[in-house]
């Protein structure tokens, strides 16, 4: 055997190289994990078709002519597609297999271990949002803000999905337990159902109206609906971005604190 003819010098690769390296691995493995994105695409398409088929006539009947329930529902389906998508389960496997330890034995910048996964998530989230959006367009939705609005729509939806990833990563890093990570899916329900998923905010009453008011998803959906149905209404779009920012601030803080706890060597 011969393993040492070439002399090499190990050095810190630098933040961006580390980020790129971890991201490329995560993207490669995402592609090899069709079970991770197959259902994530099928479920929102299913809900979109079923919700529109079941409720379109009923809801549109209660609004002035011109109200398009398909456009009202499309942001919900896109939110279904992009919320809760992450590689947290594979991170748990890395912890259990000891592969995370192998990475921690290298000089890799610790933060890039999470940023790389999130980068792959953002790519996947965007890839999931686009087909759902395309289905809506094929079904005749007229986009009030045109092609540029569609781009902004995808960017906001992608950032929302990214902001949400912090929760499952925090759980994965805190527990190292796949069951607990799967349980993070439960967060999905209040976020996506205690909101204006099926009816406009003004149609809500009682405790649900209060829950809807404090749910950031409400403002996300409203901003996305503005882009599709009403035009460049910056106050609504701005609130959607603020909702993304707020959610991201909370979830990323939790995730990076959990990462710091996992790698602090205590």
């Amino acid at each position: 055997m011969s393993t040492t003819h070439v002399r090499v010098q190990a050095r810190s690769a630098g933040f961006f190289t580390d980020w790129r390296t971890v991201s490329l691995r995560a993207l490669r493995l995402t592609w090899r994990d069709p079970e991770a994105f197959g259902p994530a695409l099928a479920i929102p398409l299913f809900f979109f078709v079923v919700n529109v088929g079941a409720l379109q006539s009923f809801v549109e009947g209660g609004f002035p002519p011109g109200f398009d329930y398909k456009a009202f529902q499309l942001p919900v389906s896109v939110a279904f597609a992009v919320t809760g998508v992450s590689r947290a389960s594979s991170l748990v496997l890395d912890i259990q297999d000891g592969y995370l330890d192998r990475l921690l034995l290298t000089p890799v910048r610790r933060g890039t271990l999470l940023l790389g996964l999130m980068t792959a998530d953002l790519v996947l989230i965007t890839a999931l949002a686009v087909p759902v959006l395309m289905l809506g367009l094929l079904l005749g939705i007229d986009v009030a803000t045109g092609f540029l609005g569609l781009i902004v729509f995808v960017v906001i939806a992608g950032l929302w999905g990214l902001a949400f990833t912090g929760f499952p990563y925090a759980i994965a890093l805190r527990t190292g337990n796949p069951t607990a990570v799967n349980g993070a899916f439960l967060l999905f329900f209040p976020f996506l159902f205690l909101t204006t998923a099926y009816l406009p905010q003004e149609a809500m009453t009682g405790w649900l109206a209060t829950a809807v008011k404090f749910n950031p998803t409400t403002y996300l959906l409203d901003g996305l609906r503005a882009l599709l149905m009403d035009g460049w209404e910056w106050d609504r779009i701005g609130k959607a971005l603020l909702a993304v920012l707020g959610l991201g601030a909370v979830s990323f803080t939790l995730a990076f604190k959990a990462l710091a706890g996992r790698v602090k060597r205590n």
């Binding site: 393993t3 040492t4 190990a10 330890d101 290298t106 060597r265």
Partner: protein, 317 residues
Amino acid sequence: MTPAIEARALARRFGEKDAVAGVDLTVAAGEIYGFLGPNGAGKSTTVRMLTTLLKPTAGTARVAGHDVADEAEAVRLRIGVALQSAALDPKQTGRELLDLQGRLYGLSKHDRTARMNELLDLVGIGSAIDQRIGTYSGGMKRRLDLAAALVHQPEVLFIDEPTTGLDPTSRIAVWEEVRRLNKEVGMTIFLTTQYLEEADTLADRVGIIARGLLVAEDTPDALKRSIGSDVIVARVAPSAADAVVAAVRDLAPVEGTEVSGHEVVISVADGPAAISPVAVAIAQAGVRVEGLTLRTPTLDDVFLHITGGRLQEDEAA
């Protein structure tokens, strides 16, 4: 010359339990150091501290000239680690895993390619290097794990149980590579193992850890000599062991006795001369002997002498 590894009163406490209770050891550059101990003795915790995965709660350690607590990144650039259970990603191919390691150590594309070609020889799995690791056998995984630890040509290599689960051919291949790395490149190797033969064959010096403390340390030959030139092993029923000890302990050639389950290990200065009087004494005590063996001491005998238990039995338990 700066030692490759130097630990002083190195300790690690988990809650109320002292996993490592104050280890002092020095490993010279270019040495192969065997670290022996049963499960739970503190081997892996010591390795995790020396490799920067775990901070000591007391004491200090320097590896490749750098403090493991305060200069962790400098240590990481200079060490390679093959952990006890091959720490691999089953969904990557072997080639992808080695390339990723090279990238994280800042190697150029040219250097990564060159190192990959060299390491393929060590991994020895041919075209399977382009298949997913999840399809590899245990032996292939262990060899890939070792190759991953060597991508950046570390000064100090930590290998935790390197041949556990390997077939004899793969085991010998790993031993040859360890020897070669040590002799040709001068790589310092810190080896933990449950195989006494492995420590005996490979290690320049052996440290024995029990209950978080280093209880013996020397060359394998010196350790074995420390318990006598020869040992006679009498295999008897456990209830008869004390009677055997009582029968032989006062005989002139007997230097010491240890009991381990069915075996009474009798250390003697001159085995061929001592075996007859020992056999006669046991017979006169009325003990039925299932077997009486004369051999030279092993590291397992040393372990028994020092700790009162067999290393191999503890590992198996």
